[in-house]
């Protein structure tokens, strides 16, 4: 899959939240570990519901987890 224009802080937030493992985060949001790996490495841009689930898991606003780096228009 192509690299997305999204940046994310998932890896950092995992470590700031009690060193949550990729598998633990995957179980909490209901996806596979592979998907968490793909999101962290920027290979996959998650759907909005999944992005919200991840943000809620870390108890932060969604924009603290995902940032859009593409052109505005």
């Amino acid at each position: 899959m192509a690299k997305s224009e999204m940046q994310n802080q998932v890896r950092r937030l995992r470590f700031e939240n009690g060193e949550l493992t990729q598998q633990q985060l995957a179980d909490k949001v209901g996806v596979t570990r592979q998907t968490i790996i793909a999101i962290e490495s920027g290979k996959y841009a998650p759907s909005l519901p999944l992005a919200f689930k991840i943000a809620r898991t870390f108890e932060v606003p969604i924009e603290n987890v995902f940032q859009y780096e593409g052109k505005d228009s």
Binding site: M1, A26, D27, G30, V31, T32, R33, Q34, T35, I37, A38, S41, K43, Y44, P46, S47, L50
Partner: protein, 144 residues
């Protein structure tokens, strides 16, 4: 390697093994007994039905998430690619038969089943390759 990758790999392995067996057996019979008997050996391609066992061999594990939105997207894209390739190949095969055999006015009875068999083979092969490419050939998708 997740369930979808295992199924794709299994399908490709089965297809490769069956094709090798069919080519070897047909080749041997052709050289020893001639083309009429060799044609019957193409029936060995029925072993491709083993592809259908993938769903039983790689069952979903209880209570484990093994298929999510990303897998769904990969499967959908792979299926779209597979049917696009199939459609082009199917039209090309149909028009080739028409162009080559129309003057005879008849088409041999085994042409259509072979076309359907090859069509199915194209769909499963292209879909499986597309799945493996999208996950990354390494299988673990960069897992650390």
């Amino acid at each position: 390697m997740n369930r979808l990758q295992k199924i794709a790999s299994y399908n490709l392995i089965v297809i490769a093994i069956v094709l090798i067996i069919v080519v070897l057996v047909v080749g041997l019979i052709y050289h020893s007994k001639g083309s009429q008997e060799a044609r019957g050996a193409i029936g060995l391609a029925g072993l491709l039905g083993l592809v259908g066992l993938s769903g039983v061999l790689f069952r979903k594990k209880r209570g484990e998430t093994d298929f999510d939105e990303r897998d769904q997207l990969i499967l959908r894209k792979s299926t779209a690619v597979a049917y696009s390739v199939f459609w082009v190949a199917w039209i090309a095969a149909s028009m080739t038969i028409w162009a080559v055999l129309r003057r005879r006015g008849t088409v041999r009875v085994d042409i259509l089943p072979i076309m359907v068999l090859i069509g199915g083979l194209v769909v499963v092969t292209v879909q499986s390759v597309a799945i493996l490419i999208q996950y990354g050939w390494r299988g673990k998708d960069g897992e650390k």
